[in-house]
Symmetry: C2
Subunit: 456 residues, 2 copies
């Protein structure tokens, strides 16, 4: 399915547009207007009143323009009629917000099928129902209820939960992750997660794909598409409903069918999918994949301003299959010139509390330039302390230069949060809040490289 | 060892006090003065100058007062002489800041032994060397270099890494965790982690004990003390140096000896120790144990404003051995009166996006009052959205009342961070940033209850 016009629509209809601020038909229209979307917007409302400064039409068929995307915010009882109008209008896509379908049982499922029939008869493809909407940053399109406004970037995200998805977007925004698209796929009566993943896979603006999945109606097709996509770019999936308790909850949430966790895991791995084992990992992994070069191997140098964190990081590296090799003599020589005589002469490189902050970056450079290391972790050298703000930004700047010069991933762990810095937030996607988070992300970069090498 | 006078000293000497702001002897004294410590403070400096407004003496033996605690901030070469003076003065404790001892190899180890001999000959007990200092909130004593100022509370913390320990204190402060004591035990040449744990175990102000351990010089004694302590209160341990890479790093950091991870784990479990598997869990578990009543069983009700999070939470509950049982008919009846007809009638209780915010707390109450549940998780009902700030605080208030009324743990997950609220931070120890963090903490409460029931 070509989704170009879904994410870059020339015209939008908002069916169920409203002047009541507690209605979806108000908040979504407001978000679209605030977001800066440049195409034509047509509110549709039975009274034909003026809404947020735009004259509404009474029915979508009254719009004197073609419609690429119709957003449907009317109550469930009126949805089918609205979709029939969209079919008459030959709208390309309809995003169906209301809930109350497959997730409520057999009756809802039958009604959901009617929606799809009505849509497809006129060539309309459906998103949802039970969706929270879509986002396309490069089109300045924020067609959802959420207040999240992530900046444009390379992460595409499809989520079977709108709430969870938009909350993750909001967290991603705070962590400086740039997104290309978001779609809350809802009950997936027509378009499925794999349709979006397929599009993201071929899309030049998307560098990494995230998916929150509760269930798959056609697992084979999903895996075929995943297998093709993962040769091009990483696909990171959080699979919920892994346990009987979770599967019960999923069935009453998005109407998803249970699937065996073990089958899922091994099939996912074979298709080159990177599994996230919790929701934080979705963002942790997206950070690393969207901004860092891939490592050539798994040999890690650790730089730490605080010996304890070096111990923690060494443990986690080894547990995640990463090597922490000894320092080559060339690195020892360079570091001996930079550090006090009592530094431990080993990897992790402990800065032994040195307050000569310029040395920190020089030490990082000494490590990044060594062929013995494929990746670098630097802990606490971006401090997050207000007193060291200037140092922090200088260090980040140097770190970006080193990544660029040596084409190796360098992951920084900032252990404090005393101040906010625009510059650091913009580059926040290189910053992790604990060694564990950073190291797991690095391990996934290595895993993906191994997969790519294996499948050629 | 009675450590009362270490944490509640009537008089302090600061040997190596300095007017140079980049020296430990300046920063620690400044922290002590700013913190509001009420006892006598004696700076000691070879020049006998005035430091931060206090007249220094040249040697500790010149002080016209007894000394409970001497903080030693002179360079390593002058430390032994300073300790000999403390011995002459019959100081009770000496906190030895400088590094360069056991962690650097055999020569350092021999010098460290000399420190202990010098100290013990005069009845002085040593903390360190290679320590970052101590904190005792109830004495307003912040005798370390860190800027962390956690408020007084029930969490006692001993850490073999000063840096990691104080950074965890700083995070704890932001998350609203109250601490009683902190000690950076350093190389543990004399007083060991278990000595502090023993004191914390009998201390009325401490409700839960945290420990960061890289190595144990007397594992048997540690376990004996742990076993006694865990019958009284929870002891949460993060053991670093679990892998060969980590053990190597530990040896050059605190001079800790390697120990087999498997032996450690099973011995810890037998002694009733709660293991933290990463540094975040230390705080997650401390939160729950320091503020919540212990659950009677493992049956969890989940309230969620967003269905996807309910699915995630159900999975994690089951994976952590917690039950998510069906709703009893009494609860269904109450909830049917509160929620729109299309709510899924199951546990997790999905608030199906309802914007009638007062209903959220009523639903929480309906669940908390049921005998069918031992604990409650509430997800997203404290939103973190600026628009809902008033609601959030009202909900938190109600939540505290319900914990008190029903004596059940209620853990809240706040998924957004739009605003800061003094009130919420103060009660931040009931708030988690993801379902996974909250559920693991709840599982540890259950685990500890089972242990206590088993050992009687």
């Amino acid at each position: 399915v070509n989704l170009e016009r879904l994410f870059f629509p020339e015209s939008l209809a908002l069916i169920g547009a409203s002047n009541n601020p507690s209605k979806w038909g108000f908040r979504i229209l407001k978000n679209i207007l605030n977001g800066g979307y440049q195409g034509n917007i047509y509110p549709v409302n039975p009274k034909g009143e003026e809404i947020l400064g735009i004259q509404a039409v009474k029915r979508v068929i009254d719009i004197p323009d073609k419609i690429d995307v119709a957003l449907i915010c009317v109550p469930a009882g009126k949805t089918c009629e609205a979709i029939k109008d969209c079919a008459r209008k030959r709208a390309k896509f309809a995003v169906v917000i209301p809930a109350g379908y497959k997730e409520t049982g057999e009756k809802g499922r039958a009604e959901e099928n009617l929606l799809v029939e009505a849509a497809n008869s006129g060539g309309v493809r459906l998103i949802g129902p039970n969706t929270m909407g879509i986002m396309s940053t490069h089109a300045y399109l924020y067609a959802y209820m959420s207040a999240a406004r992530p900046f444009p970037g390379g992460v595409a995200f499809v989520s079977q939960s709108g709430n969870l998805g938009t909350q993750i977007l909001g967290k991603g925004e705070k962590e400086g992750i740039g997104f290309s698209y978001f779609v809350s796929s809802g009950n997936e009566a027509d378009l499925k997660s794999e349709d979006f993943i397929h599009f993201f896979g071929r899309d030049k603006k998307s560098r990494v794909i995230l998916a929150y999945i509760e269930g798959l109606s056609d697992g084979r097709r999903f895996l075929e598409i995943a297998k093709e996509v993962t040769t091009q770019k990483p696909l990171i999936v959080y699979k919920a409903g892994r346990t009987p308790a979770g599967a019960r909850a999923a069935s009453s949430h998005s109407g998803a069918m249970a699937s065996s966790d073990i089958v899922c895991r091994s099939a996912f791995a074979q298709a080159g999918i990177i599994g996230a084992s919790n929701t934080e990992e979705l963002l942790d992994f997206a950070k690393a994949f969207s901004r860092l070069p891939l490592p050539k191997g798994n040999r890690v140098a650790i730089l730490t301003w605080g010996g304890g964190w070096g111990v923690v990081a060494s443990d986690v590296c080894q547990e995640m299959g990463l090597e922490v090799p000894a320092l080559p003599s060339s690195a020892l020589k360079k570091l001996n010139r930079l550090l006090p005589s009592y530094w431990p002469q080993s990897n992790p490189v402990d800065l032994v509390g040195t307050l000569e902050l310029d040395r920190h970056l020089e030490c990082l450079k000494a490590l990044a330039s060594e062929n013995a290391f494929d990746a670098i972790l630097t802990l606490g050298t971006i401090t997050g302390f207000s007193d060291f703000r200037q140092h922090d930004e200088k260090f980040m700047n140097g770190l970006l230069e080193l990544i660029n010069e040596y084409q190796k991933p360098i992951l920084a762990v900032k252990l404090f949060e005393e101040y906010q810095s625009e510059y650091l937030i913009k580059n926040g996607s290189l910053l992790y809040s604990s060694p564990e988070h950073a190291i797991k992300a690095l391990a996934m970069l290595c895993k993906y490289v191994r997969y790519k090498n294996r499948v050629g």
